[in-house]
Amino acid sequence: MTLRNRLLALSLLTLLLPWFGWKLLQELEGFLRESQEIALLSTARTLAGALPFESQSQLLYAPGRYVVLRGLERTPVLDGFDDDWPYAQQGLTASSADGLLHVRFLAGTADGGLFVLFEVTHAATTPQHPVKTPDERIELLLRSPRGLWRFDIRSEAPGPLQLFSDGGGGQAEGYWRDTAEGYRLELALPAVAGNADTGFIITSGPSQIASGSISGVDPRGRVEAQQWITLIPQRTELSAMLAGAVPEASRAWLVNQDGWVLADSGLVAERGAQQTTWLQRLLYRLVAGSRTALEPAVTNHQPRLQSATVSEALAGRESRHWSQDPETATVHNLVAVPVQLEGKTRGAIVLQSSSEGLLLATNRAFGRLLITTLALTFGLAGGMWYFATRLSRRVRRLSGAVSQAMQGGVAVGVLPLTSDRDELGELARNNAKLLRAVADYNLYLQTLAGKLSHELKTPLAITRSSLDNLSSRPLDPEAQRFLQRAQEGVERQAAIVRAMSEANRLEASIRVAEWEQADLVELVTKCAGGYRAAYPGRRIQADVSLTTINLRCAPELLVQALDKLVDNAITLSSESDEVHLAVRRTDGQVHLSVRNSGTRLPAEFQERIFDSLVSLRDKRGATPHLGLGLYIVRLVAVAHGGSVEARNLPQDQGVEFIIHLPA
């Protein structure tokens, strides 16, 4: 992992900041919701304990069968369709004993009138086999303070109907519409004042549905039905009371034991989702999550509440639920408190608050916090990354320069960052110091041989001149022998000293070398001729393909380098091996090479072979060999701005030394 990636990872720790903020907000949100629920619950409890007497009795003396007259907002159009009835599917249902005939019965009040809807279906009906019989018939009874009315309705023809009750007194309008599976009858009756009951018998062929177990019709208007369906009106005065008691933006319902709405505080003001942006909704969902399942929100004119929360309350336990509309981010808080009358749960007060306002305030604060901290985090991370990138780039630059300086490519003085004031600058300065010390040391090592030879020359001269003086005296044969040996030793010593100072002298002669435009092809050809003369019996070839390669160089120095390489090749190979001199030109470079067969370079020598005092030859020859030859070759190449290379030829064909010169 690079430095900057590490710092980047480190800076990601600041992501903890928004995370903590998120956690805090979740807690805050939970606390707020809690307190709201408690407020709602206490309101509901108060309402449950202070129900007006009529409501209490309505709950206490609940009839066995009843239909809550729903307050219809719009007067239904008498057309036999149920689409202008809200919650048309929630109604009283009954079936015939043989299970072939079903009815759904709806009743409601609107505009002072009473509306009922019968939806009759034949279970076995398929479009291919209609079971409809010609004598479809509904008998409807309605008992109210205004009297007892009986309507006998038959399907003579579908369409609008004008009905009169038996014996007059009641009249109604209706519409009969045949459907695919049966028919639908929609009726408008005069308003019933006060309590009313109803009963009906629906006949279709052999099947019959009776709302009571037995119902009979007395010709004189007396009707006996053992089980009437009570029509329970919604309590408008109670609704007003509820509306007054509930907090703002909340709604209250009084439901009976079956969950039918007896009173409703009113409409919930529809809040537009446009108040919240998608980002806020997203953020809110992040905070609140969907920790409870969304119960369908109670909508306007819902005739019956059947959610789990309400059922819980109707079972005698207070319950609460909160849910969040994923689309609008509106939070619905629903509490249900049972209404206990005479020791039994008779119904429930349900309160719902749609608490956008409060929680969205949190939401906005959270949004700001989150966005701010996120921006800070990414800004910080970006800053860190930039800083780390700069830092690592500087470190890389420094380390690159140092390693280049170690390879001798760059002068120590030009190390980057040395003028910087921070720790890296100090590191660079220390590196420069170190490199300078190393360079000094290297220089010392390189010049050591030369200096040493200079220092050795004087004592050598002393020994030699003394021996010379001695040799001019008459000596006995034995002394003569010793003298000769001593002189041989001194000769060898002198040769060593000369070899040691050779590199130094060469460096000096490089400084005064004559640079001229020379033809290297001619030079190599001439040299090869010279070497053939100098090493008779050896096969020395000049491989030149070009006719001329002109280069500005110091030919004397190049010849000297070639001398060393050829001398080396001759020494390393045997009498029968060939030595090849070659010169060739590639892009921007001229390559002078000396190749010989018969030897290999030891692998460990390839790097150091051109250093001073490293010798390849392991056998001690007659002349001392200190391995300065190849060092001199390198000096010559470097003086020309070039380099040297030694390599083994493939398939053990020998060794090749190459001087690369910039053209």
Partner: protein, 240 residues
């Protein structure tokens, strides 16, 4: 008459050895260890030949300084530099100051004496002009072995003793390549190839100074040098 040689050398052992050798050969030798006492003695009486070490005691260039001062006293006094130093730069500065020869300390005593004798011979030849002489002629080159004089197109070329012997070695067999070791032997110097190269270079420059068209001294790469015979002129005309 005994010739008088002065040796200025700070290393007493070497000085004594050289003194002994030269005395044995029959010279009168005085040794000096420093520049000041040498100079004091020289102002009283000049020797006939001076051998000077370049580095004298605390003065690394004291020999050069002494040479300059000696040249002020006498234009013709033969001076030989003898030193442990051997860089081209030292050789050049030594010779530029008017030294007649430049020898390194690894020379053997026999060689040293040979150089001294050669130098004396030259001085003698200069003073006894007209004596019979072995004269070599190679085209425009006239070469007097006895007087150690060389001229090109009748113009004298001022050569040091080493240079003189190098030319002598080359022109004895014109057209033949003389290797550096051969030249070293002929010039009776024990130096390395590099020094021979710089000697040859200097000889060439001296000839070029009198004749910009000079092209007789040929480098044979990888082998050595040769004297290119002039095609138009008659070959070897030795006159005894």
């Amino acid at each position: 008459m005994q010739r008088h040689i002065a040796i200025v050398e700070d290393e007493a052992t070497i000085r004594h050895n050289y003194e002994d050798a030269l005395r044995r050969y029959g010279y009168h030798v005085s040794g000096y260890s420093g520049r000041s006492d040498a100079l004091a003695a020289f102002t009283r009486r000049l020797p006939e030949l001076v051998i000077i070490d370049v580095g004298l005691g605390d003065e690394p260039e004291g020999g050069f300084e002494l040479c300059r001062e000696l040249r002020g006293l006498s234009r013709s006094l033969p001076i030989i530099f003898l030193t442990a130093r051997d860089s081209d730069l030292d050789v050049i500065s030594g010779l530029r100051l008017g030294a007649d020869d430049y020898l390194t300390k690894d020379i053997s005593l026999q060689h040293l004496i040979a150089r001294v004798v050669a130098l004396f011979r030259r001085v003698e030849a200069l003073s006894s002009r007209g004596a019979d002489d072995q004269l070599l002629q190679r085209g425009p080159l006239k070469f007097s072995v006895e007087r150690m004089e060389v001229s090109w197109n009748e113009q004298p070329v001022d050569l040091t003793v080493t240079e003189f012997w190098i030319i002598h070695s080359l022109i004895r067999h014109p057209g033949h390549v003389r290797t550096r070791p051969q030249l070293m032997d002929d010039a009776r110097v024990v130096v390395d190839d590099q020094t021979i190269t710089s000697h040859v270079k200097r000889i060439r420059r001296k000839f070029l100074a009198v004749d910009p068209g000079f092209d007789q001294l040929d480098t044979v790469y990888g082998a050595g040098y040769r004297w290119k015979p002039l095609a138009s002129t008659a070959e070897v005309t030795d006159t005894a």
